[in-house]
């Protein structure tokens, strides 16, 4: 056409896709490098790291036992601050889990192939974060041995739970989320456990990996159902993950507390959860890729760049939500809402008790990720790591601000009350980091932390038409 009409167009050269696996590695290279991490002798750094995290985890468990045996009084909670650090920590940890499900499910459905090298570790992070999250509401019930009152059965007094209560919805949401995440993670692991089984030298490793691989044979008749199961689980997890943090936000939004009673909460909580979760993924993955330089071709700068962009996007959504809350507090004209936002939280006149927490949150969550507009910042691992730490801190402060500022200074000044955490409370929270990191170290040591069969699928060799005349790759 162009030539016939006498015009000539310059056809620009086709842009080459940056390969997802660096250096054009072969399929067996991927098997070797990922399996090696599990098969080699336990390195010294692992023992050193575990020697630090496991006592912290143990300390957390001791605090939990102490709290259970003495009652909630060992915490700093009081009237009116019936919820404080415990629910802050619960929401903090459950939010972190959301990035793992986002990577494994939503990015799978949207065909973001770069997810394959990080999804396994991110899903593991989800599980361990949900384990840590579950601890807090469970022990906050006070009489831990009566936690079964949460179950949808008539309790010891013949009373049924209130199915209209968001707290009961939370029980369903969190337990479903944990169960489905475990299933999704395990289904993804089956082919890789078969790989480890086939490579195992010792009889014990062969037996254990073989047992959990369930006799997987990688036959196409199996892959057919397997891929359908994986697709369906991704399809189920996507609305599930959005529902979990929405329901967590209902715990607040369905109450009448100023600062909680808002319709923006579900999307704002979900965006914040993904934001904080990606920061935690990078917090874990950056050191892991330094320790294991051989997986540098699998977790590339491209991955870090994309995750930094997601942090920038979700951080900006969170920033929008913060500003919108302030706007609505002013525009809505509700005195109590206005007091919470302008006096207790932002506290432009310095009347609020927790002003510092609000502005720490604002800086960490809204200002600090804006540096990711610069390509330099996104490609500099040190900058990325530092910003992620700001985000981790900021997202914890966000939950603290929401919970404590609303409760401490609510309607009547006569019912106000300060809150500060007790030592037990602080050490319980630190202890959950020990539990989280110890579980993650065990995961890195004994399971393939990169999804071997999925990464193989994104290499050029996996394309049956690779190398043919009409090859577009």
């Amino acid at each position: 056409m162009a030539k016939e009409s006498g015009l000539s167009f310059h056809t620009p050269e086709e842009l080459k896709r940056v390969p997802l696996v660096g250096n054009n590695r072969s399929v067996s290279w991927i098997t070797d490098k990922v399996s090696e991490i599990v098969e080699k002798k336990t390195p010294f750094w692992w023992y050193a790291a575990f020697a630090v995290t496991s006592p912290i985890a143990l300390m957390g468990l001791v605090c939990i036992v102490y709290q259970i045996s003495n009652g909630v009084g060992v915490w700093g909670e009081n009237h009116p601050n019936g919820w404080a650090w415990d629910i802050t920590n619960f929401v903090f940890w459950i939010g972190i889990g959301h990035a793992g499900t986002l990577i494994s499910a939503i990015l799978f459905l949207t065909r973001q192939k770069w997810r394959t090298s990080i999804n396994r570790a991110a899903e593991a992070m989800t599980l361990f974060a949900v384990v840590c999250a579950g601890i807090f509401p469970a022990i906050h019930v006070g009489r831990f041995w009566m936690a079964w009152f949460l179950a949808p059965v008539p309790n010891a007094n013949g009373i049924w739970p209130n199915f209209r209560s968001p707290l009961l919805w939370d029980v369903f949401a969190v337990s479903t989320y944990f169960t489905v995440s475990v299933l999704f993670w395990y289904v993804g692991l089956i082919p890789d456990l078969a790989t480890l089984r086939d490579r195992a030298k010792s009889a014990m490793a062969k037996t254990i990996y073989g047992f959990f691989a369930l006799g997987w044979r990688g036959s196409n008749r199996q892959w057919r159902h397997y891929e359908m199961a994986y697709l369906i689980l991704a399809g189920l997890s996507t609305p599930l993950v959005l529902s979990v943090h929405s329901i967590v936000s209902f715990d607040f939004a369905t109450s009448i507390m100023p600062g909680w009673h808002t319709t923006i909460f579900p999307p704002y909580f979900v965006a914040g959860a993904i934001f904080g979760g990606f920061a935690m993924v990078l917090t874990i993955m950056l050191p892991a890729s330094l320790i294991y330089p051989q997986i540098g071709d699998l977790i590339t700068r491209q991955h870090v760049d994309k995750m930094a962009k997601i942090i920038l996007l979700t951080g900006s959504i969170v920033g929008y939500a913060y500003l919108m809350e302030l706007f609505v507090a002013w525009y809505g004209g509700n005195k109590f809402e206005g007091f919470t936002f302008f006096k207790a939280r932002a506290s432009f006149d310095g009347e609020g008790w927790y002003q510092w927490a609000y502005w720490a949150m604002m800086f960490c969550n809204v200002i600090s990720p804006q540096i990711f507009w610069s390509k330099w910042a996104r490609s500099n691992y040190i900058v990325v790591f530092i910003v992620c730490q700001f985000v981790n801190v900021g997202m914890w402060f966000e939950r603290f601000v929401i919970i404590v500022t609303s409760l401490a200074q609510d309607f009547l000044p006569s019912s106000w009350g300060h809150y500060s955490p007790s030592t037990t409370e602080i050490f319980t929270f630190i202890g959950t980091f020990g539990i989280f990191l110890s579980l993650f170290l065990l995961f890195m040591r004994f399971l393939p932390m990169i999804a071997i069969s999925e990464v193989k699928l994104v290499t050029p060799a996996a394309d049956p038409h690779h190398g043919q005349v009409n090859d577009k790759h």
């Binding site: 949808p152 489905v180 199996q222 159902h225 609305p239």
Partner: protein, 184 residues
């Protein structure tokens, strides 16, 4: 016991890349074999068509699971709340219009039982777990979970004969063709 005393399970061949195993599978499909399989280290896209397999009907199982979950949740929330133990909290309404507040539980249980159906259904349809299988006796099989591709044609196939199938696998480009025997 002598190796050759055991019943022949199948004849297997190894292929070096996804493209060649796929074109081989297409030829075997066209010859009308029924009981055969392709073993690959990752799901090769397009292999279902190459083997002449249709859609996986796991989705139907999952639909039933979801339906069961939804029904369970409807019963679990409405029977106690409207029948066994109507509860008035804070003087708020408790009639049929409050059914909206049961939606989260209905959603969660639908997802939960669908997920169980997806995983359980997948395992049943794949006949897993099955820790012993004749293909595990084949020394080349360990490579399949790494970077090799295998085609295994089973002896129960009506067109099976050791020599003919071995020749066929040779002509379609297979190497290391071996007879796989039943365990003991």
């Amino acid at each position: 016991m002598d190796q050759s005393d055991k019943k022949v399970y199948a004849v297997g061949a190894i292929f070096s890349d996804a493209g060649s195993v796929m074109s081989a599978a297409e030829k075997i499909r066209d010859l009308g074999f029924v009981h055969w399989d392709v073993h690959t280290p990752f799901p090769v896209h397009g292999m279902d068509q190459a083997m002449g397999l249709g859609k996986s009907w796991l989705s139907a199982v999952v639909f039933c699971g979801g339906l069961l979950g939804f029904t369970t949740a409807v019963c679990l929330t409405t029977i106690p709340s409207f029948g066994i133990y109507p509860m008035i909290v804070h003087g708020k309404p408790y009639d049929w219009r409050t059914v909206v507040s049961f939606f989260p539980i209905m959603f969660e249980l639908t997802v939960l039982l669908s997920a169980f159906a997806a995983v359980g259904g997948m395992l049943v349809m794949n006949r897993l777990p099955r820790w012993n299988h004749p293909v595990f006796e084949w020394e080349n099989f360990e490579k399949v979970s790494d970077d090799s591709y295998a085609i295994v044609i089973e002896s129960r196939d009506p067109k099976f004969s050791v020599t003919k199938v071995s020749d066929l696998l040779q002509t379609v480009g297979g190497t290391e063709i071996s007879v796989i025997r039943e365990e003991a």
